[in-house]
């Protein structure tokens, strides 16, 4: 009975240890030298962890490019340029738009959804318009 008890404990506590021991007697694993870390989505999506934030999309203004409900990865350290998709602050709210900077024309925040009009970034505007961060990718889970 006591033996049985300790067997249960051993398997509950350390399943990994258990497997390791049974392998030791077998044929050496030819793949062992080639073992690397598994693929990491973090490394793919996050280049600078300390300045990267995840933001949930709750609107349709960037559809069809970015659907509502998606997660956007925002890196604040990146400088926004023409064509950057950005999280901006307009009327004290976060909005997701494409930044368009063209010579001899006002800078605008453009929606990919044609139902929304462009927002002109005007210095004289009473409400401040700022780029909060640049979107580097988005994640959509089905």
């Amino acid at each position: 009975m006591q033996l049985y008890q300790s067997f249960i404990e051993a398997t509950n506590d350390a399943p990994l240890l258990f497997i390791e021991q049974s392998v030791a007697a077998g044929f050496p694993n030819p793949c062992e030298e080639f073992l690397t870390k598994p693929i990491s989505l973090d490394t793919l999506l996050i280049k600078r962890a300390s300045s990267t934030f995840l933001v949930r999309v709750t609107g349709t203004s960037m559809e069809p490019t970015i659907p509502s409900g998606a997660l956007v990865v925002v890196d604040k350290s990146i400088d926004a340029i023409n064509g950057s998709i950005v999280v901006a602050v307009v009327d004290n709210e976060f909005i997701l738009k494409e930044l368009r900077v063209v010579k001899n024309a006002p800078t605008v925040l453009h929606s990919h959804n044609s139902f929304y009009e462009d927002i002109i970034i005007d210095e004289s505007n009473e409400e401040r318009t700022d780029v909060w961060g640049v979107v580097t990718s988005f994640i959509k889970q089905f």
């Binding site: 300390s50 934030f53 995840l54 933001v55 999309v57 604040k76 350290s77 004290n92 909005i95 909060w132």
Partner: protein, 425 residues
Amino acid sequence: MAYYYVLADVNAAYVSFCALFNPQFRDKPLGVLSSNQGNVIARNQKIKDLGIKMGDPAYIVKPIIEKNGGHLFGSNFTLFGDMSDRFHTELEELIILPERYSVDEAFGLLDTNCMADLNAYAKHIQGTIKKNLGLEIGVGVGRTKTLAKLANWFSKEQRWKEVTHGVAVFDTIEKENWVLARAPVIEIWGCGKKISEKLIKQEINTGISLRDSDLKQMRRRYGVTIERTILELRGINGIVLKSSTDARAQICVSKSMGIPVTDLSVMNESLSSHVQNASFKLRRQNSWCKKMTVFIGTNSFKKDDAQHHQSLSIELPRSTQSTTVLTKYALFVLERLYRKGFNYRKTGVILSEFNAVQEMQHDMFNIEEPDKSPLVDNALDQINAKFGKGAVRLASEGFTRSWKPKDNLAPPSYTTNIMELPTTK
């Protein structure tokens, strides 16, 4: 002189952490309340301008803030801790030998050989943090830590803000003298309230009169701390930087309970939760502790209530980092401290006397089982890392947690919980 000390700190840190995700409050009076939501513990400039002081009670402040379109947040130390970590991580790319001095302050060194223009470099540090984290910081640079701290104070003083814009570099004696002549002694690092009062009686009112006072006489009268401060003001380093990789020498976890508690079992729950947090920190820095202190207290602001504040330390039979072992001893101590009939407001635990490895001494009187809980603790930490703090806990922490501070005002964990992310339209 090749090296200068730098002190960078976040302006109104807790408030700024909340404001980053709440642009609607950017230019409004903003405050953060203590964890039991009783008092103001952080303020931005707008709320200071309304005359609201540190520690003011929430119920008095709230109507004033609301009338002015502002907001009071509760505390969320998960959010604050993560933002603080980001601040320190960013700084560590910018300064030499960084030291995480507190949640929102870091010391470090600047080298004039590779950062020729100290002023421009200090502004670069400020600009980088503003860009990458959206946080306003103050940067002070000086020949010693005490001078860097003074430069930082100067950079933030409202009356000179137009000139400093949050950056002050003491790269000449003239600049040091100018600020020292205008800095009250209470603003000098190392001069507490008591010493400052005595110094003022002695007609030492400003930093400059303290710096130029008689060193031997001051040492005889006030001790080595003031001597070190004076030397630092004279440009001689007396305070050594700690490397931020050094493990902390003690861990303290304590929080006010949301409601007054008289029942021992509720206090057990609260203390167990603190022990869980403390032992997690202990394992994270790879230490084993030999000593534990438990303390409890009633609300000292409630003058009418009967007061009971007491602490008790015990030497552990063997150094440990196990939640289960520490909880067992903590509850044992609490039972001895607790007295019936008091309205307790606080429980806390301090772990100290750390070893880097577990002592392996087996003495013949030690009848206890060897510490076989690392597997349990590891599993606990991993599950809690994956599913959020407190997902799995010891039964002694309880299930209802009636003592928990009411957290309806606390901001979400915007950066650490996928269910609480900021949203964009």
